[in-house]
Symmetry: C2
Subunit: 459 residues, 2 copies
C-alpha cells in the first residue's frame, strides 16, 4: 500500500517558532507612528497588543523563539497535522507532478488560525489580560480565537465582517458555541463603525473596518487587548509550526518541495508554510519557488503598490511598509472572506520586493473549479480561501504535464469548507461570476487612501 499520510507523534511538535526577520537578507523597514513619522517601539504597541506579542512583532534578532509549554500542550489536541500525498488529485490531473498538502483543516477550529490564537490567548493570560477583541472575515480567525480564549478563561469579543456574518451564520454560531460575543461590522458600537455607516449605510464591511472597530474597543476598555489573526509579524511567527512540521514530514516522504503554495489574505498561512522552507533559499542550499495565491478581486501582491499605509480602514494602526491597495479599499463580496484585506504583511512585502517569492491572482470561479475537483478526488471540501492555493497548485501541476517534468508541489490546505457550503451552492448552481477588479477601480481606491508623505520621505 502506498503511504498517503505522513504522520509524526506529538513529541515532534516543534519546540520553537522560526522568526524569519532575524535571517532575511533585507530586514523590513520600521513601522511608523503616523503623527510623528518616528519608528514605532514595542512599548508604543503595548496599549494595543499583549506585551509579548508586541516584542515578537519587532524582534529582528532571535531566529528561534521558544513555544510555551502550555501552548504546545494545546497544539497537541490537533498537531502534528497530517502531510498528505494527493494521489487522487494527481490522477485527476494526469500530471507527473508529486502533489502534497499539509492538512491544517483538522484543527478543532477547522483551520490554521488556531496556531496563533492559542499563543496570543496564552500571552494575554500570562499578562493578566481579561478580555481580547478581534475582527474576523471568513470567521476562521474568530472561531479560533473564541476557542483559544475559552481554553485560557478570557472573554472574547469579535467584530465579524458584515458580509460574512450574513453569508456564514454557522461561523457565528461556532464562535458563540465557544462562548464569544459576535457583532457584525461595521457596527454602531464604535466611532469607526458609526463613521463608515454614516458615509455608506449599505457597506458590507471589510477586514480593515472590523480591525478599526476591534482596536477601538481594545484601547477604550480596561484590561483589554486586541488580537489580530494575520498580517502581523508575530502572527506569521506562530504559524511557522506548519512549515517546520512539513519540512520533517517531507523528509519522511523522501522528497523536498520544488514549489510551495498557499493562499494569501494577510499572509499568515502563507508565511507559516513558506518561511521555514525559505530559510534554505537564503543560504543558497535550495531554490524552492514560493507562490502566494490571492483573489483577483483583491490583488494587493500582483497589483498593489509598495508604500507606507495604514493596516485598518480608520487609520488607528501604525503605518506599515507594505504592498497595499490602499486602506480605503473596499473589496467586492467574494466568497473567500478571509482574503478580502487590502494589504500584505511587512515581511512578505519585503520578500516579494526582494524576489524571494511570487504571487498569482485567481478569480473565484477558477478557485471553486479547483476546490470541487479537489473534493471529488481527495474527499476533503476545502475552505474557499484554500481553493485559491489549490487552483495555483493545479496551474503548476498542469505546467508539469505540458513540459513532461515532475516537480514536488506542496500546498497548505489552510481550512475545510464544511461551514462554507452556501458558497459551494452558489458555484454548483452556476450563479457565481468570475471577477477581476479593473485598473480604474484600483486607481480610485488608491487615490482615496494616500497617506501624507511618500515612502522615501518617511523611511
Amino acid at each position: 500500500m502506498k503511504t498517503k499520510k505522513f504522520l509524526l507523534p506529538e513529541s515532534e511538535i516543534p519546540t520553537q517558532w522560526y522568526n524569519i526577520q532575524a535571517e532575511m537578507p533585507n530586514k523590513p523597514m520600521p513601522l511608523l507612528n503616523p503623527l510623528t513619522k518616528q519608528a514605532v517601539t514595542a512599548e508604543d504597541l503595548y496599549p494595543i497588543f499583549c506585551r509579548e506579542c508586541a516584542n515578537q512583532e519587532l524582534d529582528q534578532t532571535h531566529a528561534w523563539i521558544d513555544i510555551p509549554d502550555q501552548v504546545r500542550q494545546l497544539y497537541a489536541n490537533y498537531r502534528v497535522t497530517p502531510l498528505v500525498r494527493a494521489y487522487g488529485l494527481e490522477k485527476a490531473l494526469d500530471t507527473p507532478a508529486h502533489i502534497y498538502f499539509k492538512n491544517e483543516s483538522v484543527s478543532p477550529a477547522g483551520s490554521h488560525k488556531l496556531n496563533s490564537a492559542l499563543a496570543q490567548a496564552y500571552y494575554a493570560k500570562e499578562q493578566g489580560i481579561t478580555n481580547l477583541t478581534t475582527e474576523t472575515g471568513a470567521g476562521q480567525w474568530g472561531g479560533a480565537l473564541s476557542y483559544a480564549t475559552k481554553m485560557f478563561g478570557i472573554d472574547c469579543a469579535v467584530y465579524m465582517v458584515k458580509v460574512s456574518y450574513e453569508q456564514k451564520p454557522y461561523r457565528r454560531s461556532i464562535m458563540q458555541c465557544f462562548g464569544a460575543t459576535v457583532t457584525p461590522s461595521p457596527s454602531m458600537s464604535t466611532r469607526a463603525g458609526k463613521d463608515i455607516i454614516t458615509r455608506d449605510p449599505n457597506y458590507q464591511g471589510s477586514l480593515g473596518t472590523a480591525i478599526s472597530e476591534a482596536i477601538e474597543l481594545a484601547t477604550t476598555t480596561p484590561n483589554c487587548r486586541y488580537a489580530l489573526g494575520s498580517v502581523l509579524n508575530h502572527v506569521s511567527l506562530h504559524q511557522t509550526v506548519i512549515g517546520l512540521e512539513a519540512e520533517k514530514q517531507m523528509e519522511l516522504a523522501g522528497e523536498y518541495p520544488d514549489i510551495v503554495v498557499a493562499c494569501f489574505g494577510g499572509g499568515s498561512n502563507f508565511s507559516g508554510m513558506a518561511f521555514p522552507f525559505m530559510r534554505h533559499n537564503f543560504t543558497g542550499k535550495t531554490k524552492t519557488r514560493f507562490i502566494a495565491a490571492e483573489p483577483a478581486a483583491c490583488p494587493k501582491l500582483t497589483k498593489g503598490r509598495f508604500e507606507y499605509d495604514f493596516g485598518d480602514e480608520a487609520g488607528y494602526t501604525p503605518l506599515l511598509p507594505m504592498f497595499t491597495l490602499g486602506h480605503k479599499f473596499k473589496p467586492s463580496s467574494i466568497h473567500a472572506g478571509g482574503l478580502r484585506y487590502h494589504g500584505a504583511g511587512v515581511i512578505v512585502s519585503q520578500l516579494l520586493k526582494d524576489g524571494f517569492m511570487e504571487a498569482v491572482d485567481i478569480d473565484q470561479v477558477e478557485s471553486f473549479n479547483a476546490g470541487v475537483l479537489f473534493a471529488r478526488s481527495e474527499g476533503i471540501i476545502p475552505a474557499p480561501e484554500s481553493c485559491h492555493a489549490i487552483a495555483a497548485t493545479i496551474r503548476e501541476a498542469l505546467k508539469c504535464k505540458v513540459e513532461g517534468t515532475s516537480r514536488n508541489i506542496l500546498f497548505n490546505l489552510s481550512g475545510h469548507g464544511f461551514v462554507d457550503m452556501a458558497s459551494y451552492d452558489s458555484y454548483l448552481s452556476g450563479d457565481m461570476q468570475a471577477y477581476h477588479i479593473s485598473d480604474d477601480e484600483l486607481e480610485k481606491f488608491h487615490s482615496h487612501s494616500i497617506v501624507a508623505g511618500g515612502l522615501e520621505e518617511m523611511s
Copy 2:
C-alpha cells in the same frame, strides 16, 4: 508533556473486519420473507443489495473477513483515526474517570459513515453495478456514500429525510459537491413516497420512509442497488475498524475500557466501536460495560419491543427480529436526525436481549448541554448524534466522581457538528425543549405497526 492523542500509522489499519455473528453466544434469529414467513437467503437479497453485502449480512460462520486492498487504500485517507484522552473534559467534570474518545469526525465526510460507504461502493463496482441509491437522515451517511461512489465512479441518488433536508441545507450541498443527486423524502418520485404524502401531506419524513423510497428506486432501476448506512449486519461489520483500532490504541495508552459508549440510531457506530471489545466479554476475559445512548424521542432500545418488524415504513424489507417502536413510528423532529429510526439492528437486539449491553435514553437538551461542554473543554463541536454519547459518558464520569472511583470510559465521537450549527443556535438561544415521548404515543404507533403473526409463530 502528557500524551493526548494515541496515533497509529496507516500500516496498522486493520486488514480484516470482525464479524461478531460468528462468535456471539446466541445467534440472531433469521430474517423472514414477509409473505412466506420463510427464512431469507442471501440470494433473496441480491435484487436489493450487492451480492457480497448480502452474503456478509447472513454470514454466521467467519469471525474475520478480509478488507479489500482498494478499500484499505481509501481508508488510509483518514484512518487510523486518533484515539484521544479527553483531559479537558475530565477537568471540566472534576472526575477521577479517565475519558477517551475515538475521533471518527476526521473522516473526509465528517463521520464514521465512510467506513461502510467505501466498502459498499467497492463491492458495487466489483459487481458491475452503475447506480446506488440510499436514504440519509442527518446527512452523514448520504455525504459519505456520495464521496465513496465518486471514488469508484458510480452514480448516487440520495433520498434525504425532509426535516433534515430543510434543517441542514449544507449537508445537501456536501452531497451535491461530491456529485450526488439529492431528493427530499417523502417525495412524489416513488409509490411509497406518494402514498405517505397522500395520507399526511405535512409529514416531515423519517429514515423508514426514505429507506422505502430508495429500495423502490433500486428494485425498479436496471443495474442499480440499494446501500444502507446502518441497522444491517454488513454495515456493522464494516464499522468494526473503529473498535479494532481503538483496542490497539488503548494498549498504547496502557489502559483497557471499563465502559464503552456510543450513540445509537440503527447501531452502526455503536456496533463498530463495541463489538471488537465485546468479544473479550464473550470469553470471560473482560467485563466491560457497553452503553448505547439513544434519544428520548426515539427510545427503541429502552422502550421498544423485541419482535419481527419491517425495516422501513412501507414494508419493502424482510421482517427483522429486533427491538422496535413499530415501522409506522413517526419520530419527532429532533436535531439528531441520524438517530430518528424506529428499530435496532438484529445483532444488537439479540445482544441487548441477552444482557451483553445496556441502553440509556437522553433528551436533546441534555445532549446539547453535553455537546457544548465538550466543545468548550476539548475544542471539537460534536454532531448532535454524538452529543448523546457524550451525555451518557458524562453521566458515568459523574458517577465515578460521586463514588470516588476511577474508571476508563471510552466513547465514539462519531462525527463533528460543523454542519449542524443551526441546531446549536437553537440550543444556545434557549429555544430547544426537552422531549420524552409518552407511553401512550408509543403504544399508538406500535398498535399501527403490528405485523401479522407473532414472534413465536414466525420464528
